[in-house]
Amino acid sequence: MSEYTNVGKVLKCTHCGENCAEETILASGKSFCCEGCKLVYEILDENNLCTYYSLNNRPGISQKNQSKNRYGYLRDAALREKLISFSDGQKTTVNFRVPQVHCSSCIWLLENMSKLNKGIISSRVNFLKKEVTIFFMDKEIQLAEVAELLANIGYPPEINLSDEQTIKQKKDYSRWYKIGVAGFCFGNIMLLSFPEYLTGKSVLEPSFKLLFGYLNIALSLPIFFYSAAEFFKSAFYSLRQKFINIDVPIALGIAVMFIRSVTEIVLQAGPGYMDSMAALVFLMLVGRWFQNQTYHTLSFERDYKSYFPVAVTLLKNEEEQSIPLSKLKVGNRILVRNNEIISADSILLSGEANIDYSFVTGESQPLKITKGATVFAGGKQCGSAIKVEVIKNVSQSYLTELWNNEIFSATDKDKHEPLINVISKYFTVAIILIAVGSALWWFPSDLHKALDAFTAVLIIACPCALALSSPFTLGHIVRVFGKNGFYLKNAAVVESIAKTTHFVFDKTGTITVAGGSHVVYEGEELNAQELVALKSLFSQSSHPLSAAIAQSISANGQAGISGFSELPGKGIKGKAGEMELKAGAAVFAGTVDSGNVKSSRVYVNINGNYKGVFSLNIQYREGLKEMLHTLSSEYELALVSGDNASEEKTLTTVFPAGSVLRFNYSPQDKLDFVKHLQTSKHKVLMVGDGLNDAGALKQSDTGISVSNNLNNFSPACDAILEGSNFQKLPLLIAFAKKSSVIIGISLVISLLYNAVGLSFAVQGLLSPVFAAVLMPLSSITVVAFVTLSVKVMAVRMRL
């Protein structure tokens, strides 16, 4: 049994380690902050799984604000089929995303799930992806029960619409295989070619020479036909589109090297260039792999589907029934419980609706909706369950309609041309001209030498170093950004950031602190008893303002409130013991409004005396003004807000003169605003956070989504910036701009190496040993240079 007590000393919850501020539940000699935490403890205790608590200190997640998710819809056969990864009719494997995983205790508990239910055979956690794979017996336990079990031990699996498509996608390992094969062949070819490096005269008997030559050919076949295939494919596709990318000269170089080497070895004219070719392919594959390192847990492709529930609770003849969201129709009546998302525009039928639109607008203060009014899709109900009637289809709702815009159906092709491809155009033409030129020069006198020079030019000019400089520079920059809480979708985003001319900001949640409406109390000082009483009074009310104030009062304990009543338009009142409490509008609390429109104010009156006022200010992010002024020296700034212009006065002082401030913008207006800027050749960087910015983020050249919690939702974008690092934005942009300087210098270095090589090649004097040394050397120099310079610059800029 548990008992409720008020204790002066703050106890910590055995499960989650949070202060047991509001109430303390004691059970089996341990303290818990809420019933939820206690329940989890009891489940683990019963099953002898308390090692969970000894591996880490208080490893649990607070169950206080966890909504009880229901997984009844997982019984739907079609849905189940989409979610499970494998089933043979008896045993099933399923993959769940569990964002709550955060420490070794989590891993331990989740991997011991078989002790909780005998139907579960085994479970495995992937910590980096925050996923758990569960292998269970169909006869013993249902999929829905597995999900409920996870939720009961504090790890509710996250299931949403987009999972239906993505969760089954197998990871593509072909790049790993290619690198492995290339590495193997490269090492062995080097070994076999080594005797040739030692001296001009062959130290080998001819029989060995022949054997090594043929072995080299055999080893180079997998490299040429398997590992290097992607270069040929890419070159072929780009040529077909009448365009020369960096892979064209690379493919040309590799092909010439291979053909010439095979001919030389077969004709016993020389050892060939197989070693250079193997080294080159291997290095370039490693470069591409390095560039494509991705963040496991972040998703940059989310649309509203990843946020909406998979199923809704349908009310039919007053009976509850769980149906997949896809079957929801106009006219259906649905039940929306606490913390559930409204999945289509609807009309409120009954219940008290406090809708939190923070995922849509970034505004975290819930809105009170009256009966008969419309609640929009994407809002989250806070409070008791409400009944609503659907008036629009899921895909036609005010919010989701945005995704019908053509910008979302357009395939995501590169928004801009990478610098390296611009260069490769001229580079390729120049190389071919030199090759043909030197062939023509030797042709009249020496046919053999002409052929030699022609192929040698193409071999030595193979832009390996050139092709490596940009992946390594950008790859390093992406990593530096990652350390600073700025996560890019891919390396190409660095280049698009560097080209930015215009910044467009969203207001709520982007430049303001989400959920951080700052509560300030002004007036007569309140004693501890009064604070407790007020906190209790405010927690009685479901008004959003009251909730925010109650949360801000740091008082322990609780007072019984009697005679509580809520007077619409005036405020709330009640009695705590002998204390008469009133809170609300100025007149109601017996004072005059100080007329500050900037903030919402709640006046407090105790025992008939006016005491003071709680004001909720919109809190802008730290260092916002300085940041905007730094940016304005180089870029044009704009603000597009979905809110009304009530904050305009403050914002004009925050934003530098000349910035464009727009209010009352719908999601579509925001998109059009960005589009309009782009028509006049501006490169737009959009910073937003909610679903209502999704269109503008997608339309912009670079869309950055600001997020306070990386596990939370963020709309489709090119980059995610942690809210706490917001003021670093100008620095990060400046850093991205430096990338082009570094790439530029590394290009010069690689071109110098090329010039040296070419000077030998045009004379037909290129020896295999020389090529085998020069080509990897130039690549390594370039890689070392860009790595060092990015690191040095990061230290200098304090990133």
């Binding site: 106890l11 308390c50 956690v125 910590f127 992806k129 790993w176 295989y177 492995g180 054997l211 072995l215």
Partner: protein
Amino acid sequence: MSAIFLLIGISLLVAVGFLVAFLWAVKTNQYEDDYTPSVRILFNDTPPNNNETTKPE
């Protein structure tokens, strides 16, 4: 010198062995998650008794 023929053959065979081992490791998802196994190996096989888990407040 003919021993070299044999040695080259053996060295290639060993190298192929490593290549196959690498490909197998990739195929069995061992590169999927390079963090969790390092934690997993430190867990005891048998959970200790309940009274041992009592923690100081």
